[in-house]
């Protein structure tokens, strides 16, 4: 164990990219034809109306840095900082620009160039300390404190805004939850870092659904945080070290699929863990594939759904959660306008860019409240926290639930 509670770096590995902007790939950047079709899909463009806060503008900026046609200018890094990393642009880009890969590389390159900042350094250390180290998160106490420590939310500074912390999610004895009925599949389940503490009920429901679908669920012992929050914030080395540790754990077991119920983690595992290729599945993706038994109960609720950026844009999973929810008897479904546009949570973003995050949230809430739904379903803890905070501040009684909880209402 190294000082920061992090798996040690494997020996002999050189720090990626000694020269400037080496991680950014010119070929990736060149896939942008500058057509502008992505502009209005971008939450920060929708608010500012500025090319510099648009996907096309950010790509143009990084391209020029990469090619040395614009000098690196500390002032311009704010355009990169203001990007949510929501990848909505990637979903609408017909040219197939790998924006997620570009912005991760760009951020990592920028971190090498810019002056260090106390705020960013603190959040990185906090991240490594807490998320990278399984014991500490648990000790952090109340939900709001966890959120604060993780810098996941700024709006939630006062603990009142967030739900009370429940008992942490625990894997069953023997690290196995058996299939209900005939065993048809064996799946591994990503417990992760934030979900088991902030939203244990989502995990509970997810595991129950998997069991109902005939899956034996294995909880890989010794599994760490997947590293998504690190990669999204330009700490690629931190993410690589976690990947190495986790791959050793996964390689020691056998499973048909690794099930993930947090969209951000799922997207990261699919992109960043080539060793798991094809076996990482979002919960809804998997349930749609293997099928759930007939529901037994009527749900009798009006439900809408907020796409998680890392599900709909990064993993292109749009219909599965909707179809599963709509198949529940008694559900009155209402599609929300702009459902696939980010809510402004975006991992550490809401702390680092609280002003923009809040403006995006306020715009989102207009669409959310207009649905008059009883429950808004989500697929990622970040979205859940952001919407809970926003709805409470508006005095709304609408509930925010993970898709798994909504689905379990049918059983």
């Amino acid at each position: 164990m190294s000082v920061d509670g992090f798996p040690p770096r494997s020996p002999g590995r050189a720090r990626v990219g000694a020269d400037a902007f080496a991680r950014l790939s010119d070929d990736d950047l060149a896939t942008c034809v500058h057509c502008g079709l992505c502009l209005d899909a971008c939450p920060t463009f929708r608010i500012t109306g500025l090319e510099t806060e648009s996907p096309r503008g950010r790509i143009y900026l990084m391209t020029q840095w990469k090619r040395g046609t614009l000098p690196f200018d500390e002032e311009q890094v704010k355009h990169i900082d203001l990007c949510l990393g929501c990848r909505t642009c990637e979903g609408v880009c017909p040219s197939g620009v790998p924006y997620g890969r570009i912005i991760e590389a760009g951020r990592a390159d920028v971190e090498d160039q810019r002056r260090p900042s106390l705020k960013r350094a603190t959040s990185r250390v906090a991240l490594r300390q807490l998320v990278g180290h399984p014991g500490r998160l648990r000790a952090a106490g109340a939900a709001a404190r966890v959120a604060q420590k993780l810098h996941l939310t700024s709006v939630a500074r006062s603990g009142r805004m967030l739900p009370r912390l429940r008992a942490r999610f625990r894997a069953p004895a023997g690290n196995i939850a058996p299939a209900i009925g005939q065993r048809k599949h064996r799946v591994a389940f990503l417990v992760g870092c934030v979900m088991p503490i902030m939203y244990p009920q989502s995990h509970d429901a997810a595991v129950k659904l998997l069991q109902l679908a005939g899956c034996e669920v294995w909880f890989p012992p010794g599994e760490r945080c997947c590293g998504a929050l690190f990669a999204h914030n330009g700490d690629l080395e931190g993410a690589e070290r976690l990947r190495e540790a986790n791959m050793r754990v996964y390689e020691a077991g056998t499973f048909d699929a690794l099930i993930v119920d947090s969209a951000g983690c799922g997207a990261h595992l699919k992109d960043f863990y080539p060793g798991l290729k094809g076996r990482v599945k979002d919960l809804t993706e998997w349930l749609a594939e293997v099928g759930l038994p007939e529901p037994k109960r009527e749900a009798r609720i009006r439900v809408t759904y907020q796409d998680a950026c890392h599900l709909v844009h990064a993993q292109r999973i749009k219909n599965q959660p909707r179809d599963l929810i709509r198949a529940l008897p008694g559900v009155e479904w209402i599609e929300m306008r702009h459902a696939d546009i980010c809510c402004g949570a975006a991992g550490l973003y809401s702390t680092l860019e609280p002003d923009m995050s809040n403006r995006i949230l306020q715009q989102k809430l207009e669409d959310v409240l207009a649905t008059h739904a009883d429950v808004i379903a989500v697929a990622n803890p970040g979205c859940q926290m952001q919407l809970e905070v926003g709805l409470r501040a508006h005095g709304s009684a609408m509930k925010v639930e993970h898709v798994s909880e909504v689905l379990l209402r049918g059983y």
Partner: protein
């Protein structure tokens, strides 16, 4: 050249500190639109109201600084490029839909409202806004009005000018006026008709009143494959020769189909030489009958793998493929260059084979995706700007293609406007007298040449019409 500080200060006082951008490195990000031209503005000013637009233009007029209105910057003729420097007057923050009147079937919008957003909101009243440029996800109604944009469904419904009832505009002296109004017939001198399509050279548009149409009760969409682009063009002529005007009639060649399939998986047949996308709308019985008739004609003209979208989702997917087509070409090469020349429909087969030969001659891949029903070509020449040698070839090929269009009795642009990229070719179709008449109109509105200078009219001060010879930082920076 940066704006003199006092002028920048004046502008800041009008729109607020945050809304004037003049940091040189930031300005570089605003040097282009959807085309490949580039020139850096001296400042970007974000207006939030008609008052802002008017006051900014007054300042510019006083100091003789060019003003170029800018929407989403999806234009394909360099219209929003500040070729003479000056102020890029961005209206993207003016994005309120001010009113929808479901009874009169009209909407009053600010210029920054995104085309598709208007149709989304109008749909709550069972209405839609008909002109649907393929860029509708991002382009603005103001930009549409300035370019008199078309779209796939304009074959039947007509282009933007047929749907604009009236506009609030700011002239080159900063004065604010309403042109036309509610009446379908524009009474008196049709100023609205003059200003729609003026490409930002006569006025800045600050409000637009548009007509909305009732969403048709039934829509049917059909896809058909053809062995070659010529046979597909023949089929287009045959359909229209039978007196049928579909709502939309779009063609894509095999290069385009390959790129589109890779992204959308819309089920386009990738073995075809060309595909046609045909749509009809109306009441259910008539769409059924029309589709049957069209299907028969297409079959008789070597069409195969003919299929109709069975669900709205399937229809949407077919259209997503078509509307994302130009962008999808980035999968083949990182840059495209296109002229949207338009020919009489009967000349389509001839002009398309000429386009093909020119592409072959220059050994450049060409992807055709276009509004076949209107005879409106979009031959996209595909290349990589990083290979600087190729640019001259690209220009030469583009120019020859446009020349072929004109020789077959066609026009320079069907919908993208003349802007920067086609201004040098204006003398091909207009004699000096015609151009003189246009100049006099420009002088009436903007004698000092404040509004979007250097566009539409050929620029005698520029020695070369060639892109590579043009100024702008994009070139200096070895962007090409």
């Amino acid at each position: 050249m940066p704006l003199p500080q006092p002028v920048a200060e004046e502008l800041r006082r009008i729109v607020g500190r945050e809304s004037v951008i003049d940091a040189p490195n930031d300005l570089r990000i605003f040097e282009r639109d959807g085309s490949i031209e580039g020139a850096v503005p001296d400042a970007v000013v974000l207006a939030s109201s008609t008052e802002h637009v008017s006051a900014v233009i007054k300042v510019a007029a006083k100091h003789r600084i060019p003003v170029v209105p800018r929407g989403a910057g999806t234009g394909l003729s360099g219209g929003a490029v500040t070729i003479r420097g000056g102020i890029a007057l961005q209206v993207t923050r003016m994005r309120k839909i001010l009113a929808i009147d479901p009874v009169a079937q009209t909407a009053l919008v600010e210029p920054g409202v995104v085309n598709q957003e208007l149709s989304l909101v109008a749909a709550q009243h069972g209405l839609f806004y008909a002109p649907d440029p393929s860029s509708q996800k991002a382009c603005t109604i103001g930009g549409n009005a300035a370019e008199n944009s078309g779209g796939p469904h304009c074959l039947y419904y007509g282009v933007t000018t047929n749907h604009v009832l009236g506009m609030e505009v700011v002239l080159a002296d900063g004065s604010v006026h309403w042109v036309s109004g509610d009446a379908p017939d524009r009474v008196g001198l049709d100023l609205c008709g003059v200003l729609v399509g003026s490409e930002g050279t006569l006025c800045a548009i600050t409000k637009i009143k548009v007509r909305l149409l009732r969403i048709p009760p039934s829509i049917a969409t059909m896809l058909a494959a053809f062995p070659s682009i010529e046979t597909a063009s023949q089929a287009v002529s045959a359909v229209i020769g039978h007196g049928i005007v579909p709502a939309a009639l779009e063609m894509m060649d095999s290069v385009t189909v390959g790129a589109v399939e890779a992204h959308y998986h819309a089920g386009y047949p990738t073995d075809a030489g060309a595909v046609l996308l045909v749509e009809v709308d109306g009441i259910a019985e008539s769409t059924r009958e029309l589709m049957a008739a069209i299907g028969k004609i297409l079959g008789e003209n070597q069409g195969y793998a003919i299929r109709e979208a069975q669900t709205p989702a399937e229809r949407e997917l077919l259209w997503a493929g078509r509307k994302g087509a130009i962008g999808a070409l980035g999968r083949i090469k990182p840059n495209y260059y296109l002229h949207d020349g338009v020919v009489p429909r009967s000349r389509l087969p001839q002009v398309l084979s000429a386009v093909g030969e020119i592409g072959e001659h220059y050994q450049l891949p060409v992807a055709n995706v276009f509004h076949a029903g209107d005879g409106n070509l979009h031959p996209n020449i595909l290349f990589d700007l990083r290979d600087r040698q190729v640019l001259h070839q690209v220009e030469a090929a583009g120019e020859e293609m446009l020349r072929a269009v004109v020789e077959l009795g066609g026009a320079l642009s069907g919908e993208h406007g003349i802007g920067l990229e086609k201004s040098a070719f204006m003398p091909w179709i207009y004699n000096p007298d015609d151009l003189g008449a246009m100049h006099r109109v420009k002088d009436v509105f903007d004698a000092d040449g404040i509004l979007n200078p250097g566009k539409i009219f050929p620029d005698p001060s520029r020695k070369s019409v060639h892109l590579a010879g043009r100024t702008g930082l994009a070139v200096e920076a070895k962007w090409w």
